[in-house]
Symmetry: C2
Subunit: 526 residues, 2 copies
């Protein structure tokens, strides 16, 4: 069977490829039948030119038409939800229900629809007008965007259907999507639905393009190509940093989500007050999806004491009593074993000893421990992300030592503090919150970090190296749309030549605009 | 006389310096008396630690106190305007009036006051609340910011008083300012006023710090230091790119303004309609401040024809009849001569032949010409910025060829199109506007690019390499404040632990917040 075609320049066509690959079912080890091409530079070259050609047309397409595409696509995803979730389950070993069917797929269509609603409403672009000087500005499309998604969300972060796709396309940028090579069957079906939805709209055919795989070198070359305006990447820090270096060097806009330990501080008063509840919450969060969430709580900070000793034992019991599921791939399992080894080599004690893995894609639930003194001696090695069902507990002898650990932490997506409801921890809370707050994008109280609500106030982002820019969230319209936009100012531009959102008449009647210093829905008198 | 002290860690103290420098009056060549130190790493080390210590305090300072500082500082600048403008005139040769006294100094105090007003009003931080999930987010301080200003605006872009200073400090970030070494006397007086204003407020003493000079290596080391959160730089592309590489490598936020040719397209109908008026406007803009504006029109695109031939002759007459002023420094004069030589070596014809320069800091008004065919043969060399009173005209044989020139242009701060008022140029306008618009931050009609109005709708920014991020403006509150901020989300955080702008009560009664999808000034019912 020849490899599946890619979708570039408005058609499904064979890739320029000397190499093919197959997906594997991680639960069974079965190599799946369909063959997919590893694209080489000629494919990217065509895609980049097609995207560059589509960019000005798409930039002038009314938001309603773009929203129409996003809504139609969401509807089509729902219509083939059964097939999509079956394919995704086979490629990822993630549970078909509730995870894929009831959580991730609805989240994905919600993201597409929220992006559609935001772009039609129009306030996302921060339209600003000074009538005295006739100076007007708003955010506007950037140009072709290359997207690469991660292995752990086959729908919600897929480069052809996820949050970056919804945001970058809603703004009016042509998308070149690269599938995650673990999920080509899922991605193909998504792309087929996207192409079908596109055909029902007046959008340019190269509004979206899909390749399945490429070599790192091809990716780095594309990142620096003059026809490309921006990149979005979610995945490993190693790959992300390589892409960032190439994009930075060429002056490209790039948004990355790379890694996070999502530290959780659990204060003694909280542990005395509700130890079992917190142990349940921790185990549920740390082992959800076998720990394969970007917001997985990988690092827990505790003050040594009897309540902490009891808590660690309670978590250990839970880790050992729950059956580990199948990881996303042998690569993930291999990476997890390597990370656990790195942590142990840096002094972490394994609290959950285990025999050799029962299957290539299964790893026992793993709890590790170090003292804060050990952590502070090797803070880099002990911040190694162990992507999967492993978690590190750090116990400090004093609040001051825990503060030192906080000071040594890298930037993170999230950080949580559990504290007593009676005020017993408030002094510690204030001290630690001040240190943790600036290091994390989302700061939580009494709540584990997994579970990212798709809503305008969400921040799925954070300081480097969790992401590449601390000012933006990868989730939550309207803010997430602003990533893939440039600020365009119109100075003394004649009436009739302005974009609709900057004309005297409010184009929708409900677009908030900052006019002469006042936020208003009103028109400007002619 | 020993060198002047620097202001770090809350005191004026001698620099760790083995090297001193003096300012020079470019108009007379006189070396000015005061000596200033070139700081070495120990100064930066102290400043970075002091800034890191001030950061959490400043982050918790109420916006009103920060605004109070900014307003007091603006008032003090006005109170010593005579001395400030005298010093700046001596160090830059810019006219004391109207430029320094009536334009730049009032612009500077306006920027400080507008930043103060924006931070008190609060909407700049895009507060967003979802009550259903109790998720709340807003932009918040990033941490210590290192600022470096350019040579051409001794007040409005000075690292201790300019737009970046106002924006980054208003947000609540401690500032480490590096003076431009051409303007130490001006910068010292500004810093003295800033320090005096600071002492009248409860802000931490290391809210601002000042050094006068440092080696490039020291600057690059500081850029990558873990204590630093962000950088702001305005200046040459060479220095900016070196700083960007260091910051990127370390994952720091950096905003740069580096270079721009500010292309102006003048269409044939406009030239037939009002040739003398446009020639006046062009010469006024191109020769304002001897061409030493970042928005100077350095590249003019024309369609070959009799009206263009006449226009070029009209501009040449103006360039030759006006007396060139003194440039900012011998370095600027040297750079300008080198850039003109680069352009001529790439095929540009000198339309304004001149004898050797009459003085080291004077350069004749210089008009150069190439055909579009020549330009397209060497687009990189012919986009060399000639900072100063030199400008390049490109004449195209056809609209298609002019479109090719547009396609070859780098990112720019501004781009202008002059067209006939009767509609004669409309077809060409539409074609060229579509190509020029995405390449420039501010797009103008029938207007030259110099003159940056300080207002909310201004975009003084643009695609790389004009700046480092196309989404932001260096001028215009509230948007310009958002550069030096991180997105902070609060998920399930208890009442009483939220920042004021995210509490149920609207903290000012006039802060716009996006609550459950609706922009409102209302409180949330408790």
């Amino acid at each position: 069977m020849p490899p599946h075609p890619i979708y570039i320049n408005g058609t499904w066509r064979p890739a320029a490829s000397r190499e093919i690959f197959h997906a594997t079912n991680p639960a069974t080890g079965e190599v799946l039948e369909d063959a997919y091409p590893v694209s080489t530079w000629p494919d990217l070259d065509i895609a980049l030119s097609a995207a560059a050609e589509a960019a000005p047309q798409l930039a002038q397409t009314p938001p309603a038409a773009i929203a129409d595409f996003l809504n139609r696509y969401a509807q089509r995803i729902e219509a083939c939800a059964a097939e999509l979730t079956a394919r995704a389950a086979a490629e990822t070993a993630l549970p078909l229900a509730p995870r894929l069917r009831d959580v991730e797929l609805p989240r994905t269509t919600a993201q597409l629809r929220q992006a559609a609603a935001a772009v039609v409403e129009g306030s996302w672009s921060l339209p600003t007008i000074d009538t005295t000087h006739n100076i007007r500005s708003c955010l506007a499309p950037l140009g072709p965007v290359l997207l690469m998604g991660p292995n752990n969300f086959p729908f919600a972060y897929n480069a052809i259907s996820g949050g970056d796709f919804a945001a970058a396309l809603a703004v009016g940028n042509p998308i070149i999507a690269k599938a995650h090579p673990l999920q080509p069957n899922t991605t193909r079906l998504l792309a087929e639905q996207a192409v079908a939805a596109l055909a029902e709209t007046p959008l340019p055919k190269s509004t979206l393009q899909l390749i399945y795989h490429m070599s790192p070198d091809t990716g780095l070359r594309a990142a620096a190509d003059p026809r490309l305006a921006a990149l979005g990447f979610t995945g490993s820090r190693r790959a992300g940093l390589a892409l960032k270096a190439a994009a930075d060097q060429a002056g490209k806009v790039i948004y990355l989500e790379m890694s996070s330990l999502n530290p959780v501080i659990i204060l003694p008063g909280a542990l005395r007050e509700r130890p079992e509840k917190i142990a349940d919450e921790f185990a549920d969060s740390a082992l959800a999806a076998n720990g394969q969430f970007c917001t997985n709580p990988g690092l827990t900070l505790l003050l040594a004491g009897p309540e902490t000793t009891a808590f660690i034992a309670a978590v250990k019991t839970r880790f050992q009593s729950r059956t580990p599921g199948t990881l996303l791939s042998e690569g993930v399992a291999h990476g997890l074993r390597a990370s656990v080894a790195t942590l142990r080599n840096a002094g972490a004690t394994l609290l959950t000893p285990y025999p050799p893995s029962p299957a290539p894609c299964v790893h026992p639930n793993t709890l590790l421990h170090v003292t804060a003194a050990q952590f502070l001696a090797q803070p880099d090695a002990l911040q190694t992300e162990a992507f999967g069902n492993a978690s590190l507990f750090v116990t400090a002898d004093s609040p001051g030592q825990l503060a030192e650990v906080l000071a040594a932490l890298e930037g993170q997506l999230t950080g949580s503090i559990y504290s007593s409801t009676t005020g017993a921890d408030d002094g510690l809370y204030i001290r630690f919150a001040q240190l943790l707050r600036p290091k994390v994008g989302r700061f939580l109280n009494d709540k584990m970090p997994t579970g990212v609500t798709v809503c305008p106030a969400m921040n799925h982002g954070g300081p480097y190296p969790a992401t590449g820019h601390p000012g933006y969230s990868a989730v939550g319209a309207p803010g997430t749309l602003r990533r893939f936009a440039m600020l365009q100012c119109y100075d003394h531009v004649r009436v009739g030549r302005l974009p609709a959102v900057l004309t005297n008449k409010n184009p929708t009647g409900r677009t908030w605009r900052l006019i002469d210093g006042t936020y208003t829905l009103a028109d400007i008198p002619d």
